[in-house]
C-alpha cells in the first residue's frame, strides 16, 4: 500500500480510530494485523517469507541470550546467514548470475544457469536490516531478547516504517510497544502536520520533478550537457523530497498513534562537507552501517590505509544495499572516495583556506563549502539515477563537456511545471532554514488560532491544487 494511494486514505484513519478505541492490551495485536494487511497489499504470499525470517530471528535472539562463547556466536551466524540469504536470493541472485553470464561470455565458457523469475518483496532491504540490528544488539548484550513473538513480529513489521524505514534499533522501538499510548492532542496534531509536510514534499515537488527528470534520464543521448547538469541538480532535490517526504509521513503517522521513530533527514543539503552530509542523510541507514560495519572493521582508530579501506568497504556495501546494479556500487564507491579524499586532504585544505584568507569570511567560506558538497553529491547521484552504468558515463562525459554559453535547454521542460518546482523548492529551503533556527511548528503553535487556520488552509490548498495524485511509488520502495 502506498502512502499516497486511495487505499491508504481509508486504511490509516480506520486503523488509528480503532487503535484508540481498543483496550491497551490488544493494541499491539491490532497494529500487527494492520501491518500484515498493509504488507499484503503488495504481494500477499510474500508475507510467508517475512514470517519465516521473523521466526528464525526470534528464536535466534532467545538462543543467543541464553548461550555463551562459540555457541552464542553460532546462533548469531545462523540468524544473520538466514536473514541475508533471503535478501541475497531475492535481490542479488540475478545480479550475480548476470555478471557470471557476461564473464562466461568473455572467456567462452558455456554457462547456462537462467535468471530467477522473481519480484523483489517490498521493503526487503529495510526490514532485513532492522532484523539484523535486533540479533546483533542481543548478541552484544545491549538488549534483552523479546519473549513475545507477536511483539517481535511487530518490531519487524510496524506498518509506518515497514517498507522504507526509518530502520529502527530494538532499544528505540521495542519498549514502545509495551507503553500505554493515550490519545494525545499534541502528538496527534504534530504527527498530522508532519504527514502534511511529507505529502507536500512528495506530491508537490518530487512527483512534479519526476515528470521533468525521467524523460531526460531515460534518453540522455538526446540532451545537452547543460540540460543534464540542470536535471541532475533537480534530481538531487527530487530524491531528497521523495525520501525525506516518505520519512516525514512515516514518522508523523507513528507519532499520531503515540510512537517515536528516529529522525531520518536533517537538512542534508546544508552540509558543509561530505562527512557531515552522511550524518544528515538517511540517518537510520548511515548509523546502521557505522555501528554494524564501519566500527567493527576498526573505524578510524586504525592505521591510515586501513581507515580508508574501512570507509570504502562501508560505502561500497551501502551502494550494493541500495540496488543490485553496478550503478549503485559505483555510487557508493564514489561517495567512499569523496570521504577518503576529504579526510586525507583536510590539513592541506585548511592551510589553503588560511593562505587565501577565506577563514576571515566564515559566511562565504561556509557557503562555498555547502555549494561544493551539493555539487559533489549531485554528481554522484548521476550513478544513482542513471538506468545503466554506460548511461551514467555518457551523462558525465556530456556534463564535463557542457558549453555554458550554449545551454540548449530546448523545449523539453514544461515551463509551468519547472516554474512551480523552482518556487516550491525555494519555499521548502526557506521553511527548512527557518525551522532549523526557530522551530516552525513551535512558532506557529504560539500564534492565534485564526492565523494558524489561515496557514494550514493555504498549505492544504497548495498540496491539493499543485500535488500530483496519480499514485506514483516512492523511489526508496524499490530498495
Amino acid at each position: 500500500m502506498l502512502f499516497n494511494s486511495f487505499a491508504f486514505l481509508l486504511f490509516f484513519p480506520i486503523v488509528t480510530c480503532i487503535y484508540f478505541i481498543l483496550s491497551y492490551k490488544y493494541r499491539w495485536l491490532w497494529l500487527l494485523i494492520a501491518s500484515c494487511v498493509f504488507y499484503m497489499f503488495f504481494i500477499p504470499k510474500y508475507i510467508i517469507i517475512l514470517f519465516v525470517t521473523i521466526t528464525i530471528d526470534y528464536w535466534a535472539g532467545i538462543k543467543i541470550a541464553s548461550s555463551t562463547g562459540p555457541v552464542k556466536k553460532r546462533y548469531l551466524l545462523i540468524s544473520i546467514i538466514s536473514t541475508v540469504l533471503v535478501l541475497a536470493i531475492f535481490k542479488y541472485a540475478n545480479f550475480f548470475n548476470n555478471n557470471i553470464h557476461q564473464l562466461a561470455h568473455l572467456i567462452h565458457w558455456n554457462y547456462s544457469l537462467t535468471s530467477l523469475d522473481i519480484i523483489l518483496p517490498i521493503g526487503l532491504s529495510f526490514h532485513t536490516f532492522q532484523s539484523l540490528s535486533y540479533v546483533i544488539e542481543v548478541y552484544r548484550g545491549n538488549h534483552k531478547p523479546e519473549k513475545n513473538y507477536g511483539i517481535y513480529s511487530l518490531y519487524v513489521m510496524f506498518f509506518p516504517q515497514l517498507v522504507a524505514g526509518p530502520i529502527e534499533r530494538p532499544q528505540n522501538i521495542l519498549y514502545q510497544f509495551y507503553e500505554k499510548h493515550d490519545f494525545n492532542y499534541k502528538d496527534v496534531t504534530s504527527g498530522l502536520k508532519l504527514m502534511a509536510w511529507g505529502f507536500f514534499k512528495k506530491l508537490v515537488i518530487a512527483d512534479r520533478l519526476s515528470a521533468i527528470i525521467n524523460p531526460v534520464y531515460n534518453n540522455p543521448g538526446h540532451y545537452s550537457g547543460m540540460t543534464l547538469i540542470f536535471v541532475t541538480l533537480l534530481f538531487a532535490q527530487q530524491i531528497y523530497c521523495d525520501f525525506s517526504g516518505y520519512s516525514d509521513i512515516a514518522i508523523g503517522m507513528a507519532r499520531v498513534i503515540g510512537f517515536r521513530l528516529m529522525k531520518n533527514f536533517d537538512t542534508p543539503y546544508f552540509s558543509k562537507s561530505i562527512s557531515e552530509f552522511w550524518t544528515r542523510w538517511h540517518i537510520s541507514l548511515s548509523t546502521w552501517f557505522r555501528d554494524y560495519v564501519y566500527i567493527p572493521l576498526g573505524g578510524s582508530r586504525v592505521v591510515k590505509w586501513r581507515w580508508y579501506y574501512n570507509l570504502m568497504i562501508t560505502f561500497l556495501l551501502s551502494g550494493l544495499w541500495h540496488g543490485a546494479n553496478w550503478t549503485f556500487v559505483i555510487w557508493g564507491g564514489l561517495n567512499g572516495l569523496y570521504l577518503v579524499i576529504e579526510v586525507s586532504t583536510s590539513r592541506f585544505r585548511k592551510k589553503a583556506t588560511d593562505f587565501v584568507g577565506l577563514n576571515r569570511f566564515p559566511l562565504i567560506l561556509d557557503g562555498l563549502r555547502v555549494i561544493k558538497t551539493v555539487l559533489l553529491i549531485s554528481l554522484a547521484w548521476v550513478f544513482f539515477r542513471a538506468n545503466t552504468a554506460s548511461d551514467a558515463f555518457l551523462i558525465l562525459s556530456k556534463i564535463f563537456k557542457a558549453n555554458i554559453f550554449h545551454p540548449a535547454f530546448s523545449t523539453f521542460i514544461d515551463p509551468y511545471s519547472l516554474f512551480l518546482c523552482l518556487i516550491f523548492i525555494f519555499l521548502l529551503e526557506i521553511a527548512q532554514l527557518y525551522h532549523k533556527k526557530y522551530n516552525l511548528a513551535k512558532v506557529l503553535s504560539e500564534k492565534p488560532i485564526i492565523y494558524r487556520f489561515a496557514v494550514y488552509t493555504i498549505f492544504l490548498v497548495i498540496i491539493l491544487n499543485f500535488g500530483i495524485f496519480s499514485s506514483k511509488g516512492f523511489i526508496y520502495f524499490q530498495f
Binding site: F6, F20, I21, Y185, L420, T457, L464, F466, G467, F469
Partner: protein, 353 residues
C-alpha cells in the same frame, strides 16, 4: 479489562478527540470554501466543459468547426466510437428514406451516463449546433473504478446535477447494497476530488499543453475509428451472447419490473432539453456485457416511445453481431463487424425516421 474501553474513551479522551475532530472538520470546510473560490474565479473561467479528455476536445472542436455540415450526432462509448460508421449510416438512410442525414460520431472510450449526458447537454447549451437527430447510447451509469481515481477524466463532468443523477440512480438501482455502497463511496470521492481541486492545476497545465495537438488532429473521418480483427476472449463472448439470450427470453417479465425512476428522470431531463432545442433524441441500446444491465434498462426503455429508441442487442434478431469472426474483443466488433452493426442501426433508424 474489557475489549473496548468505552468508559475510558468517554472519560479521558473523548473531549480531546471531539475538539480535534471539530477543528479538522472546520479546517476542511475552510479549505473547501477557498477551493470553491479558486474554482469559480480561475478553473471555471479557464477550462471549457470538454477539458476532461483529449479525444472529446478533439472531436468537439472538429464538430463545432464543421457544424454547418452535420445534422445528426452519435454519442456514446467505445461501442459507438468503433462501431458506427457515419458515412455508411448516412448512405443507407439517405438511400432508403430519401433523407438528408449528415452524421458525426462523437463516441469516446468509456463514455457512459452521466458523462455522456453531461457532454450532450453541454453541447446543446454552449455550441449552437444545427442538430436534427441525436442518437445517444443508453447504458446504465458507469461503474466506479479506483484505478482511475484522481484522474481528470473521472471527475471533470461532476457537477451538482450529474452528482444528483448518479447517486439517486444508484440508490434506486437493482445493485446489491454492497455494490451500491462501494459505488457511492467512489462517486463521493470523485465529488470531493472536484470540489477540493485535487491535482487540478497539473491537469489544467496538461490541458493547455495539449491544446495545440488537439486543434491539429481529430480521430478518423466523421469521428469513426475501425478496429482490426483480434478475438482473444472467446469464452467471454459466449457470456455476452448468453446474457442477451437470458435477457430477451425474460423481456416481458423484466420490462414490467419497477423502473429506476431516478435514472428515468435523468433521461427525461435531456429529452426535455432536446425538445426545447428542436432535436429528436433517440436512445440506442447496444449489446450489454451482463444480463444485470438489461434488467436495469428494460423497464426504462419500455417507458420511452418507440420513435425515440433503437434496440440492437437481441441475439435472436442480430446473431451476426455475436460472431467471433467479426469481433475485436468480447465487447467490440472489428471494422467488418462495425459495417454490419452500422447497417443494422441505420435500418432500425430508417424504420422510425
Amino acid at each position: 479489562m474489557g475489549f473496548f474501553q468505552v468508559k475510558d474513551l468517554f472519560t479521558s479522551n473523548f473531549d480531546v478527540m471531539k475538539k480535534l475532530i471539530l477543528k479538522i472538520i472546520s479546517l476542511l470546510i475552510l479549505v473547501g470554501v477557498v477551493n470553491a473560490i479558486i474554482n469559480h474565479f480561475f478553473y471555471d473561467k479557464k477550462l471549457p466543459y470538454y477539458w476532461g479528455n483529449e479525444t472529446i476536445s478533439s472531436k468537439r472542436n472538429f464538430l463545432v468547426k464543421n457544424k454547418a455540415h452535420f445534422n445528426t450526432l452519435f454519442i456514446g462509448s467505445s461501442k459507438t466510437k468503433y462501431q458506427i460508421d457515419p458515412i455508411l449510416f448516412d448512405s443507407i438512410v439517405n438511400k432508403t428514406n430519401n433523407g438528408n442525414i449528415h452524421s458525426y460520431n462523437l463516441g469516446i472510450d468509456y463514455m457512459m451516463p452521466p458523462e455522456s449526458f453531461y457532454i450532450y447537454k453541454s453541447l446543446l447549451d454552449n455550441d449552437s449546433l444545427h442538430l436534427k437527430n441525436v442518437i445517444i447510447e443508453i447504458d446504465f451509469f458507469r461503474k466506479a473504478e479506483t484505478e482511475n481515481l484522481f484522474t481528470w477524466r473521472n471527475y471533470y463532468w461532476v457537477n451538482p446535477g450529474t452528482y444528483y443523477d448518479y447517486t439517486s440512480s444508484l440508490l434506486s438501482s437493482h445493485y446489491t447494497p454492497l455494490l451500491k455502497a462501494w459505488n457511492l463511496t467512489i462517486v463521493n470521492i470523485m465529488a470531493v476530488t472536484k470540489i477540493y481541486n485535487i491535482g487540478k492545476f497539473n491537469e489544467y497545465v496538461q490541458f493547455k499543453k495539449n491544446q495545440f495537438s488537439i486543434n491539429k488532429t481529430f480521430e478518423g473521418e466523421n469521428g469513426f475509428v475501425g478496429l482490426p480483427h483480434r478475438i482473444e476472449q472467446q469464452s467471454k463472448l459466449e457470456e455476452v451472447k448468453n446474457a442477451s439470450i437470458t435477457a430477451y427470453s425474460n423481456y416481458d417479465k423484466w420490462s414490467s419490473m419497477k423502473k429506476n425512476q431516478a435514472f428515468f428522470n435523468s433521461l427525461e431531463k435531456i429529452i426535455q432539453l432536446s425538445n426545447k432545442k428542436g432535436v429528436r433524441l433517440i436512445f440506442l441500446l447496444p449489446i450489454q456485457w451482463q444480463s444485470m444491465q438489461y434488467k436495469e434498462l428494460f423497464p426504462i426503455l419500455k417507458a420511452i416511445p418507440n420513435r425515440n429508441k433503437l434496440e440492437i442487442a437481441d441475439y435472436s434478431e442480430y446473431k451476426p453481431l455475436f460472431n467471433a469472426d467479426i469481433s475485436f474483443d468480447y465487447a467490440h466488433l472489428d471494422s467488418v463487424g462495425a459495417r454490419i452493426y452500422t447497417r443494422d442501426v441505420a435500418q432500425a433508424f430508417g424504420k422510425i425516421y
